[in-house]
């Protein structure tokens, strides 16, 4: 990255379910919190990128925020919506076109959302009719294979969920605020072997907003300087295993996550050993396990020992999903990626209260992954 870009304002609307408040209303709250956090007015914002998966157009919010005539580009990029919005804002500021912009992501999914139909995915109807087209099956079969190849136990899956709920109790914006013990997680209803009820996140609601500025502008604003060292988004390489795949290649390939991760480390000029805390995609407990390795934090199979030793807890060597991740916050698709960045901004400022990572963390990492094989990674530092 040539020109340095900084995050000068961050806001969230609590995740979970908020009856009677639309996705856009939740985004407006997050934007106003971010503006207040930066000490700015809406009229200061020169441009924005934003979007949701299923809660409407982001640019429609200008009627509520103020008709300043500013540039507003809608993003619709599945689970990478937030990451793509952030990339757009950062690249625009680096180009010199503008020096102060907004990235916003939001969503509002009803209980049991995501009713995908085969034709939407280019699949024959029989795949859905015979019951072979469920995201839960994809998550289950992917981690099942990983456990077989790399010696990961069900207890380790349970420990991921236990940590998520424990961290969620400490995060104001989290949805699940009650701890759940390991035994309860492992003994809860088996939904799709090896994943039990408590190992899956649920469709949810929420919004997150970030205000980015050039270095010059950020210094004028005068708040804490949180630098965006990298924002990368990538699609899948050959031989990856994605949701709703009726077949996969015998010659196994890499993942979108590995590509995005590599690009981000390269842009930031650092490696996984330099990361002080990370937020990684945990739509289910297995995802966090696999993404620990795909993002370079450990080798395949080492997660067993990492979790047993508590290395990813808030007081561990590499805290992961310090606000409870998707397991505790739920998954509003358009908002999750920016929630992760929000969490790292708060942590790097040392303002995370009860869930503050000790030891004065300096470098934070975020990662989302989703259908049909997209991933977005950011690296922040101060």
């Amino acid at each position: 990255m040539s020109e340095a870009v900084y995050i000068v304002g961050a806001g969230v609307h609590p995740f979970g379910r908020t009856e009677g408040r639309s996705g856009q209303d939740q985004a407006l709250v997050a934007i106003r919190v971010a503006l207040a956090d930066a000490g700015l007015d809406w009229s200061d914002i020169q441009f924005a990128y934003g979007g949701s998966h299923a809660a409407g157009n982001a640019d429609a919010m200008v009627s509520r925020l103020g008709l300043t005539g500013m540039q507003f580009i809608n993003v619709k990029n599945g689970c990478a919506t937030g990451g793509s919005a952030l990339f757009g804002v950062a690249a625009t500021i680096r180009s010199g076109e503008f020096d102060l912009g907004l990235a916003v992501g939001f969503d509002k999914h009803p209980r049991g959302a995501f009713n995908d139909m085969p034709s939407d995915w280019g699949l024959p109807d029989w795949v859905g009719e015979t019951g072979l087209m469920l995201t839960t099956q994809f998550f289950a079969t992917k981690i099942q294979r990983y456990m077989f190849e790399h010696g990961i136990s069900e207890t380790t899956l349970g420990r991921v969920a236990e940590k998520a709920f424990e961290n969620g109790t400490l995060a104001d914006h989290a949805w699940r605020r009650m701890p759940v013990d390991l035994e309860t997680i492992l003994q809860s209803q088996m939904l799709s072997d090896p994943l039990t009820k408590y190992m899956f996140c649920s469709p949810a609601e929420g919004a997150a907003a970030l205000i980015l500025a050039s270095e010059t502008r950020a210094r004028q604003i005068g708040g804490p300087m949180i630098k965006l060292d990298a924002a990368a988004m990538r699609t899948r390489p050959p031989g990856s295993f994605e949701v709703f795949a009726p077949s996969i290649d015998v010659v196994r390939g890499g993942t979108a996550t590995e590509l995005a991760s590599r690009a981000a480390y390269e842009a930031a000029g650092i490696g996984p050993e330099d990361i002080d805390l990370a937020q990684v995609q945990d739509a289910e407990a297995g995802g966090e396990i696999m993404h620990m390795a795909e993002n370079g934090f450990c080798k395949d199979g080492e997660q067993e020992q990492w979790l047993a030793e508590g290395r990813t807890r808030i007081d561990g060597r590499l805290p992961i999903n310090t606000d409870g991740g998707c397991l505790a916050c739920g998954e509003p698709i358009g908002a999750s990626g920016l929630r992760q960045v929000y969490e790292n901004v708060v942590q790097l400022r040392g303002a995370a209260g009860a869930r503050q990572v000790p030891g004065d963390p300096r470098v934070g990492y975020t990662h989302v992954y989703g259908a049909p094989g997209v991933s977005a990674v950011t690296i922040l530092s101060r």
């Binding site: 995908d116 087209m133 079969t141 099942q144 077989f148 996969i248």
Partner: protein
């Protein structure tokens, strides 16, 4: 009683049947099912191996949402797998004839067909599944 496949062109008419994949005419990469529409031009239909091993598996323990699911009203949990057909492709399939507790990666399996649901006209729709090797 009349029976017919859940769709045409998914497996061969022979007994025992084979799944029909598509081989990329340029790269030789095999996919399943054989692509339809414009994408089909790149592929030639090829019958796949009858026997393979379980690459990964799970059990569908709750009723899938309908639509798209069109199974019998009384839901019975079912096992499913990605089955590796050596040197060809890894295909998603129902499993039949397994104790759920006995499922594991690496088990040898072979293709068969099983009754799936009764169609409105009274015919039995049949789908494909892999079963344990005898």
């Amino acid at each position: 009683m009349q029976t017919r496949p859940i769709a045409d062109g998914v497996w061969t008419d022979e007994q025992p049947p084979r799944l029909i994949g598509g081989r990329d005419r340029e790269t030789g990469r095999i996919v399943f099912p054989m692509p339809a529409g414009g994408e089909a031009e790149r592929y030639e239909a090829v019958p796949l191996a009858r026997e393979g091993t379980i690459w990964s598996w799970t059990v569908q323990r709750f009723p899938p949402k309908a639509p798209p699911y069109a199974g019998p009203e009384a839901f019975e949990p079912f096992a499913l797998a990605y089955v590796e057909l050596p040197g060809e492709v890894i295909v998603e399939s129902r499993l039949t004839g397994f104790d759920f507790d006995a499922l594991a990666c690496g088990l040898p399996v072979r293709l068969t067909t099983i009754p799936f649901v009764e169609a409105p006209d009274g015919a039995t729709l049949v789908t494909y599944a892999f079963e344990p090797m005898p």
